[in-house]
């Protein structure tokens, strides 16, 4: 290897970073970010609450509205169904009580007439 090649090899050989190099670089980056204003993000930090994209806020708001709306509608529907069921049961009971009253009246009339017939038989009315 000639002298030129040896010089190049020495120049491109890997060297360990001096102590404190990484810290100096991070500090320099953070200083640069701070100099740009409060909206800038520091190296290694997560996005701030206020830094989230607008579309995420819109989506979250819409989702909340939908959930609340669906929940309200469901409760309303369930309440209406309960009212309908109660009304139906009341109608069924009324119809049943009316049918019972009709039946009792029919039996009472039948029994009254049979009793009259029996009295006639007992009185000796002609039977044939």
């Amino acid at each position: 290897m000639d002298d030129l090649e040896r010089q190049l090899k020495d120049a491109l050989a890997r060297e360990e970073a001096p102590a404190g190099f990484e810290a100096r670089v991070v500090s320099a980056v953070n200083q640069a970010a701070e100099s740009k204003g409060t909206g800038a993000r520091r190296f290694g930090d997560r996005p701030h609450f206020g830094e989230r994209p607008r579309w995420q806020w819109i989506f979250a708001t819409a989702a909340a509205v939908v959930v609340i709306g669906v929940g309200t509608e469901w409760e309303h529907h369930a309440a209406m169904e309960r009212i309908k069921m109660a009304h139906f049961e009341m109608e069924q009971r009324q119809a049943g009580e009316a049918a019972k009253a009709q039946l009792q009246l029919a039996l009472r009339i039948t029994s009254t007439k049979l009793e009259e017939i029996q009295q006639r038989i007992g009185e000796g009315s002609p039977r044939y």
Binding site: R93, A95, G96, E97, A98, A99, K100, Q102, L103, Q104, L105, A106, L107, R108, I109, T110, S111, T112, K113, L114, E115, E116, I117, Q118, R120, I121, S125, P126, R127, Y128
Partner: protein
């Protein structure tokens, strides 16, 4: 004041069972008081569900009604005599002289002008129908019960709902289920 009590109607099922002469159908217009009850099997079942399991009267009624197909009760009260035709009554009686029917009681009173007939329909084993016709000068009552009735069930109704013991004399239903027409 004219009072009309109209029961629950079920026309179609009844058409084949009880044929009321046109003259009888029109009596409602002439009567001062009318009770018109027609209950088919579904209405009887509905009524039965609301009969008490604790009241002895209603327990017996439930037992009887459970096997019935229909009950028809028509009662007309008039202010005057002669509002209905005897020919209409004969047409009714003719229906209950057909196959399976037997008249077990017939009462005639010339003094009061009151006549009564009780008919039973039997298939040989059980009573399958009862018809009662009571014709008074100012009142007409028609009762028609269609369905299976065990004579024991009918007897068990005695004393309930004001139903007296039914002493049908020679017209009583024998234990073997056959029905004898009154021979007196």
């Amino acid at each position: 004041m004219r009072t009309v009590i109209v029961g629950l109607m079920a026309i179609l099922p009844m058409a084949a069972q009880l044929r009321l002469p046109p003259g009888i159908e029109k009596l409602a217009d002439k009567a001062s008081n009318v009770v018109d009850i027609t209950m088919d099997a579904s209405m009887l079942q509905l009524a039965s569900r609301f009969l008490s399991d604790k009241d002895p009267d209603e327990v017996q009624a439930k037992k009887l009604v459970g096997k019935l197909k229909s009950i028809v009760v028509k009662n007309f009260e008039f202010d005057h005599r002669g509002e209905y035709e005897q020919s209409d009554l004969e047409e009714l009686r003719a229906q209950w002289r057909g196959p399976g029917w037997s008249r077990i009681v017939g009462v005639r009173s010339k003094k009061d002008g009151e006549n009564a007939d009780v008919f039973l329909k039997s298939d040989g084993n059980q009573v399958t129908g009862v018809a009662i016709l009571v014709a008074e000068p100012k009142e007409l009552t028609i009762v028609y019960v269609d369905g299976t009735m065990n004579p024991d069930d009918v007897r068990d109704l005695q004393g309930h709902f004001g139903i007296p013991k039914i002493d049908l004399g020679k017209g009583a239903v024998r234990k073997d289920g056959a029905v004898k027409e009154d021979e007196r």
